[in-house]
Symmetry: C2
Subunit: 264 residues, 2 copies
Amino acid sequence: MVCPVTSENSSAPALPAALSLADARRLRADRARQVADVLRRQVRHGAFPSGVLPAEADLVREFGATRNAVRDALDLLRGEGLVERCPGVGTVVVGAKYPHPLERLLGLAETLREHGEVGNEVRTTGLITPPREIAARLGLAEGEPVVYIERLRRLNGLPLSLDLTYIPRDLGEPLLTEDLAHNDVFVLLERIAGQPLGRAELTLEAVNADPHSAATLDAPRGAALMMVERLTHLADGRPVDLEFIRFRGDRITMRGTLRRGPCQ
Amino acid sequence: MVCPVTSENSSAPALPAALSLADARRLRADRARQVADVLRRQVRHGAFPSGVLPAEADLVREFGATRNAVRDALDLLRGEGLVERCPGVGTVVVGAKYPHPLERLLGLAETLREHGEVGNEVRTTGLITPPREIAARLGLAEGEPVVYIERLRRLNGLPLSLDLTYIPRDLGEPLLTEDLAHNDVFVLLERIAGQPLGRAELTLEAVNADPHSAATLDAPRGAALMMVERLTHLADGRPVDLEFIRFRGDRITMRGTLRRGPCQ
């Protein structure tokens, strides 16, 4: 749902005499955070199929919170780009967030198949001499060239991630003759290598977008990004695909399961 | 290493005549991003044990990039709070980032044992009637009270995360008599329940900190946070611990391994 942004003037809260102003502010902010965390989960899991959140009065009742704390909570979610206020309608869900599993190694189009079509704008491709760090991680000798591919990936036309990919030359050069705009690199790599992928080591970090990355992803300056670094190996163990991926934080949720025992 | 922030005036780059200004800007920003991604990885993995990055001229050579692109790359990492410029010294590593495994369910103190001491400032505890969403996820009837615990968690005195925790009353009330400042909830829960924890479902999102959360975590306004929502079960499957955790993005790196096959 698209809705014009409006601003709202809420009157100051009445404070119990025994509470200092600082205490009251903290209490209200703490409550807002609690409410926002529950609503975020509900929004993400489709608890409001009409796309409209319950009225403020209902949220006040449901959460046992003040109207101001509920408003602050909605403001928090608005700040995350999850909801918008719509005059005459209420608070509406905007900007879908897509689940990305942490349990199986999948390409983006494979992952999001049920959510729509992934399209890749190939921004750069070429043979480069990589920095030593990249060569080392791909198990290559210093100075050996690699194929570099940079893609802006969209889901249903909306920017989702900016991917910087390094691939050894023997697999990367055939890859460049393929349709990179409409295929996951993973699927193409398996075909070219004649064997499936095996495992990938990955790291996830939350970082603020630098101005240029933000502009490329059509996100606000400083927007939170989910930065993924992933080294993928073929089934035989050879490292073949090193990627640095900037996901728009407001469009992706990573999901996984952890186990307490070492091998339950 | 602590170092005063300085600003620097770099002269404008000389542009090849054939390149439009917009193209040149994009090229330089793209190169800076590539360089920053490699340097980020190196910083994170202790590639510069002296705490000082190579001189700009050396980075220019190593990356085959212009001096301006290298400077922009260092600026990106500075923006992430990873490095700082130190007059007379160079670019130094600041603010260590800690690895948090995505492969095993561990409490924070267990996770970070080798990195230092985790201390918990217990901000709030109490018995509350939770919103229906919370009750449902903990497998409780509507209106059943739960114990709510809010903790600001520090590593070696520095704020790392703000944790909002919901626990069923029968386990949560005994928990409140324990030393929550110096123990992980996980370890205490296992002792109280008389059985180990089993699995946890978790989601990870990158979000911008709202002003109050930022202030609580001593982070800049709008700082990128790694927001974790985690529902932990006992070994017998009962859900017993629902947490909403805001990690400072500049202090934590999540690490895991994915496999291509469904059960390799």
